[in-house]
């Protein structure tokens, strides 16, 4: 009688997360969700191309109270209004909440959970794939927008703030991704809860005086933005009135804590939760 085949030794969390990353990255990059992401990050690039064409003909692309708005300021406004306030939370929300939800919906979670790997590493690998996927789409889009809007003569003077913007957007994607990965792993209707958090709770807390803003990602992220906050709507004027920025170290510490805590909570939830796949 032959000996039964020895079960392979379970992989460590990091090694398993790497395997899941390899599997998920390409899948995530060429999913239908990426078309949505391409449209969202393509918007600022398209606006920047229009800006550059109009400026190339010598006409001012943007005037405020009759005064021409310089390319550097236009880029700053785009970072605030399009990337920080919209693109980063939206991508974090759509991808983060779907990390586990997609596997549950497609009923493919069983295949991952029957592998000899820690359950938490499934989420970690998928989270890293999300981070790589969104960073590789968002950051080049910021780079293109920057070189299209900022005149070459001002590159030397504004390059430092571009590097800060890139780091900041990377941090934003990481933290929002971790928060929404937890929401996706924990709640049944994660998208609705995520939308309420990103565009309800965060906006409200920023407009209120007091300490509530400390419980938002946006407050800490916005404390690090090197550009002046635009007053483009009544809500942002109110937010500007009560705006209290954290110090750089406090904001970085808060963002780092949120990232670690929510990622750990998400991994723990995935490891402990019994997922029921509806037939």
């Amino acid at each position: 009688m032959s000996e039964p085949a020895a079960r392979p030794a379970p992989l460590s969390t990091v090694a398993a997360a790497r395997r899941v990353f390899d599997l998920s990255f390409g899948e995530m990059l060429w999913s239908r969700r990426t078309i949505f992401m391409a449209l969202v990050v393509g918007g600022p690039v398209l606006l920047a191309i229009i800006f550059r064409i109009v400026e190339a003909f010598g006409a001012p692309a943007l005037r405020v109270n009759g005064a021409r708005v310089a390319g550097g300021s236009v880029f700053g406004v785009m970072i605030w209004m399009l990337y920080i306030r919209f693109i980063v939370p939206v991508l974090g929300l759509f991808y983060g909440t779907a990390l586990m939800a997609d596997e549950v919906e497609d009923k493919t979670l069983t295949y991952l959970f029957t592998r000899p790997i820690p359950r938490g590493s499934v989420l970690l690998g998928k989270y890293l794939a999300y981070l790589a996927c969104t960073s590789l789409v968002v950051l080049p889009s910021v780079m293109l927008t920057y070189f299209l809007t900022v005149p070459f003569a001002q590159v030397a003077a504004t390059f430092r703030s571009l590097v800060l913007d890139l780091a900041l957007l990377g941090a934003g994607l990481a933290v929002y991704g971790a928060v929404f990965a937890f929401v996706g792993a924990r709640l049944k209707r994660p998208l609705v809860s995520g939308l309420v958090f990103a565009f309800g709770w965060e906006q409200l807390a920023l407009a209120l005086p007091g300490y509530l803003r400390q419980f938002t990602v946006a407050h800490h992220l916005q404390s690090l933005v090197p550009h002046t906050m635009p007053a483009d709507s009544t809500l942002s004027v109110i937010q500007g009135l009560f705006r209290q920025t954290s110090s750089v170290s406090a904001a970085l510490t808060a963002l780092g804590l949120m990232l670690v805590v929510f990622l750990w909570l998400a991994m723990r939830t995935v490891a402990r939760r019994e997922y029921v796949l509806e037939q």
Binding site: N65, G66, R68, A70, V155, A156, L162
Partner: protein, 329 residues
């Protein structure tokens, strides 16, 4: 990793690497090579020496054609006390509205105790023979410097000069200033190589009047009282830009030497703006201007934006009319 995924990753990484490398090179060199970058500011900056303390520009044609200027002109013509605007043309042979397209002004470092050396470069259409003739009639001496024709006139304290630098470009200012302009153009060493000034100029491109300069050097060159200089926060650079059409919109930006000084100045300006708003409560004609005052800036910069609507000039004219004695009216 599938081939298409690999290509995507390589393309995205390539864009990021190319952008970061370009930015790093620009930061290290203080700017990108001229061939790659669009030069900010008017071409006549090539006549301004590299050590200029301040530089300003006005698009005379746009300003003269502006609705605001036309309004002021109508007011001036209606006012019998206003000086005859043909006087200037008779004395100099230049009609500002017709002959000048744009003006670049600069303040150059003083030589000795003479204060700053002013330099004005006007681009337009000039009748050299007529101007020379009028200058001679007023005691001007014609000479030649580096092949450029110059007319010098010695007044009570200073010798002022006028030089025909290039077809359509006239320089007026102190004799040192005009000679400096000729040398700058000839040697290619001009204010365009001054990265600090050009950085500020780049931000203001597109306005029809602007000025940038080193605040500390200007304060001492223009003879600002010593006590006032000491009381002013440690400002290093300033820039001011305006756009004239129906009214005037403008911004004034100053860079302090450190963030603490900038914060103090912002606090002080906030107080001044609040006081102005309180004062304007009883003056509805000032309301639009006062409401347009916006304080901004971050880090080491302090910025104030304003907008003066055309209606405010009407209100001021009415106030002036009301104050004039009845017999004059």
């Amino acid at each position: 990793m599938a081939a298409k995924t690999r290509y995507f990753v390589l393309t995205a990484a390539g864009i990021l690497t190319a952008g970061l490398t370009t930015g790093l090179v620009a930061s290290y060199m203080g700017g990108l090579p001229v061939a790659l970058s669009h030069q900010a500011g008017p071409d006549d900056l090539a006549f301004v020496p590299p050590d200029a303390i301040a530089v300003g520009y006005a698009n005379v044609q746009e300003v003269m054609a502006s609705e605001l200027r036309q309004r002021l002109r109508r007011m001036q013509e209606a006012n019998p006390d206003s000086p005859d605007r043909h006087d200037f043309e008779e004395k100099t042979g230049v009609n500002v509205e017709r002959d000048i397209d744009a003006v670049v002004g600069a303040l150059l470092p003083a030589s000795g105790d003479t204060g700053g050396n002013p330099l004005v470069l006007a681009r337009g259409r000039f009748d050299q023979v007529r101007i020379e003739g009028l200058a001679r009639d007023h005691g001007g001496e014609v000479s030649d410097y580096q092949g450029v024709r110059m007319i010098a006139h010695t007044g009570d304290e200073k010798t002022m000069a006028l030089g025909f630098l290039a077809p359509g470009v006239v320089a007026v200012g102190s004799i040192e200033g005009v000679r400096g302009a000729i040398d700058a153009k000839r040697s290619g060493r001009n204010v365009m190589s001054n990265t600090e000034i050009m950085r500020l100029v780049g931000e203001l491109d597109g306005n029809n009047a602007w000025a940038v300069g080193r605040f500390d050097a200007m304060a001492s060159s223009t003879g600002l009282p010593g006590e006032l200089q000491q009381r002013m926060p440690t400002l290093s650079w300033f820039s001011a830009a305006g756009h004239l059409n129906g009214g005037i919109t403008g911004t004034f930006k100053a860079e302090a030497k450190d963030e603490e000084a900038a914060k103090n100045l912002r606090d002080m300006m906030r107080g001044v703006v609040a006081m102005v708003k309180l004062q304007a409560d009883g003056k509805p004609e000032m309301r639009a201007f006062v409401d347009s005052l916006q304080l901004g800036g971050e880090g080491k910069t302090v910025a104030v934006g304003f907008s003066v609507p055309a209606e405010m000039f009407d209100a001021l004219e009415k106030m002036r009319e009301a104050r004039r004695p009845a017999e004059v009216r």
